[in-house]
């Protein structure tokens, strides 16, 4: 039967329940630090950061139709760019921006070759995975003192420590505290989520959904699908890069693990569990899966990754549409025009 879950009604402006939901979330976000301790804020912050990474993949996969296993390329590049630029420059404001732009430029180049080269879907998925692993291996091998950018050593597999916290742009002597990082990362996820959702209302958004549905027909109508796919690819890379920069700000540390297979696979798991047909599903799934992983660690389950693998198998076999769509169906909300208030 027809796969209706890739919401054609993304083109309908979200109605007031959605806006209430979003505003409600914003209030909850603002309120949390008043009622919780620092360790919870830290935990939530990293979840927000990783959700951004999940969002970048689910946007690209669910709405544009491009399955990229390598969003970690831009995640890692974002983190490393910030680390190197901020440590060299001594300030953090322009490195923050630059660390998002640089990976987008790389995405433009990489995307150009893959998309204009009409490399088909499954090859694109594999190539993106290979590229992220190339980055990982390359950086791992930069242990020696000769691997230096400016005054910053790349440090190979040990990663770069002491990455500075964000300074307030209007007062460089003050750095972002833990609740500041919480607000920043939470705000980022919220803004990106709302932004992507609203993007789908624009002509651009409707065109990329059309391209996902039938690229041939869109081309025959006169749309150059390559341009739209490339722009979307770069946009998704920007979101992943933002995630990487915030990761560096959160942990004051970057390492080659940001590029590795484990990280790349986790992104895929979050998106599949959450459901690639929605934007918010993967955000929720990131939280659930990470908490689940941590819990497994605390009850001393040895092979957390193995268990996650089974979880992935379970979802692909039993809940192929993901968590949110399945729950929505179960509650009788047809996941169609009427029911799709949350995405």
């Amino acid at each position: 039967m027809i796969v209706r879950e890739f919401a054609s009604d993304a083109a309908t402006p979200p109605r007031w329940p959605w806006w209430c939901f979003v505003v409600g979330l914003a209030f909850v976000l603002i309120a949390i630090p008043a009622f919780t301790d620092i360790s919870l804020q830290l935990d939530l912050s990293i979840l927000f950061v990783l959700s951004l990474l999940a969002l970048s993949m689910s946007f690209l996969w669910g709405y544009v139709g491009i399955l990229s296993f390598g969003q970690t390329i831009f995640f890692g590049l974002g983190g490393y760019s910030y680390a190197i630029l901020a440590l060299n420059a001594g300030t953090t404001t322009w490195p923050f921006a630059a660390a998002i732009v640089l990976p987008m430029l790389f995405a433009g180049l990489f995307g150009y070759f893959v998309i204009y080269g009409r490399i088909s879907d499954i090859y694109l998925s594999v190539i993106s995975l290979v590229v992220t692993l190339i980055f990982e291996k390359s950086i791992r091998s930069t242990s020696g003192p000769e691997y230096v950018i400016g005054s910053v050593r790349l440090n190979g597999q040990n990663g770069i420590p002491g990455v500075p916290s964000l300074q307030l742009p209007w007062n460089h002597s003050i750095q972002l505290s833990i609740d500041g990082v919480f607000y920043l990362s939470g705000g980022a996820v919220l803004l990106v989520y709302v932004g992507l959702r609203l993007l789908l209302l624009t002509s651009f958004g409707r065109i990329i959904v059309g391209i996902r549905e039938n690229e041939t027909r869109m081309e025959l109508l006169g749309y150059d699908s390559r341009v739209y796919k490339l722009v979307s690819f770069v946009l998704a890379a920007g979101v992943a890069a933002l995630s990487g920069v915030l990761y560096a700000v959160w942990g004051n540390f970057v390492a080659p693990e940001m590029f590795n297979l484990n990280q790349a696979a986790q992104v895929v798991i979050w998106v599949i569990v959450g459901g690639r047909s929605t934007l918010i599903g993967p955000v929720i799934a990131t939280g659930l899966v990470q908490y689940f992983s941590n819990w497994l660690g605390t009850v001393s389950v040895g092979q957390v990754t193995l268990v996650l693998g089974f979880v992935l198998l379970l979802f692909v076999l039993v809940f192929p549409r993901g968590l949110l769509p399945t729950i929505a169906s179960a509650f009788g909300m047809a996941f169609s025009k009427k029911g799709s208030r949350f995405r």
Binding site: I2, V3, R4, F6, S8, A11, S203, R206, I207, V209, G210, E213, N214, T216, R217, M218, E219, L220, L221, G222, Y223, D224, S225
Partner: protein, 242 residues
């Protein structure tokens, strides 16, 4: 270009798939404003020919001149922008979107604001798509999906309209309506129709081109073509036309 330049011309157009020659050095000329019918056995190369005209398939050799300009090598979207529209044999439409969404994506090309919705409503009236505007295209019957594709092509107002089996799966009454639509489209566009339904062809034909084994066998009036013994032998069968 002068008024005498054909709107579309192919010279020695060729397509090989491995060892099989699907289109074999075809010289085809189409004048502005014509309504041409293309008939021939299944597998004679008609659909492949069409897809080379739109840029969906890359020719193996030869030239395609659109208004005098060689368009081989151009991307499909560039050819679409130059005014070539095609309704394919198997409907190429966005199954996961509603009829209205499909039409919107077609109608917005070259139009702004309210004109887009006005064009959609006008086309929906013309083709009686009103009741199904909100339905998902993938759920519609085959014939209805064809109508949607025809609507999308027509709404773009291309200079050349290629219709690959527009009457397939239609009842006699619907076929007659399609014939009316084709004549209507021909008032403002050059139209080429591939069909097997001889009743339909008879209602619209001016010149008929017969394809056989990748080549043009005969090009003549409808009357002469159906009387042609070779055509009867390879294609029409003993009844020819009922």
């Amino acid at each position: 270009m002068t008024a005498a330049t054909p709107i579309l011309e192919t010279r020695s157009l060729e397509k090989r798939f491995g060892g099989v020659v699907a289109v074999d050095h075809v010289d085809f000329t189409l004048d502005r404003g014509e309504l041409r019918c293309l008939i021939g056995p299944n597998g004679a190369g008609k659909s492949t020919f069409f897809k080379m005209l739109t840029g969906q398939i890359r020719p193996s050799g030869g030239q395609i001149l659109l208004d005098g300009e060689d368009i081989i090598g151009l991307q499909a979207h560039a050819i679409g922008r130059r005014g070539v529209g095609i309704k394919n044999q198997v409907p190429v439409v966005m199954n996961g979107l509603t009829v209205r969404e499909n039409l919107w994506l077609a109608a917005r090309i070259g139009r702004k604001g309210k004109a887009v919705d006005a064009a959609i409503d006008a086309m929906a009236d013309r083709l009686e798509l009103g009741p199904i505007l909100g339905r998902f295209v993938g759920e519609l019957a085959h014939g209805q999906r064809q109508w949607v594709e025809i609507a999308m092509v027509a709404i773009c107002e291309p200079a050349i309209v290629l219709l690959d089996e527009p009457a397939a799966g239609m009842s006699d009454e619907e076929t007659a309506r399609t014939a009316d639509l084709v004549r209507d489209l021909n008032k403002s566009a050059t139209v080429v129709v591939v069909e097997h339904d001889m009743q339909f062809i008879r209602q619209i034909a001016q010149t008929v081109t017969v394809f056989h084994q990748g080549r043009i066998l005969v090009e003549d009036s409808f009357h002469n073509v159906v009387a042609n013994p070779v055509v009867r032998d390879v294609y029409l069968g003993r009844q020819g036309l009922t």
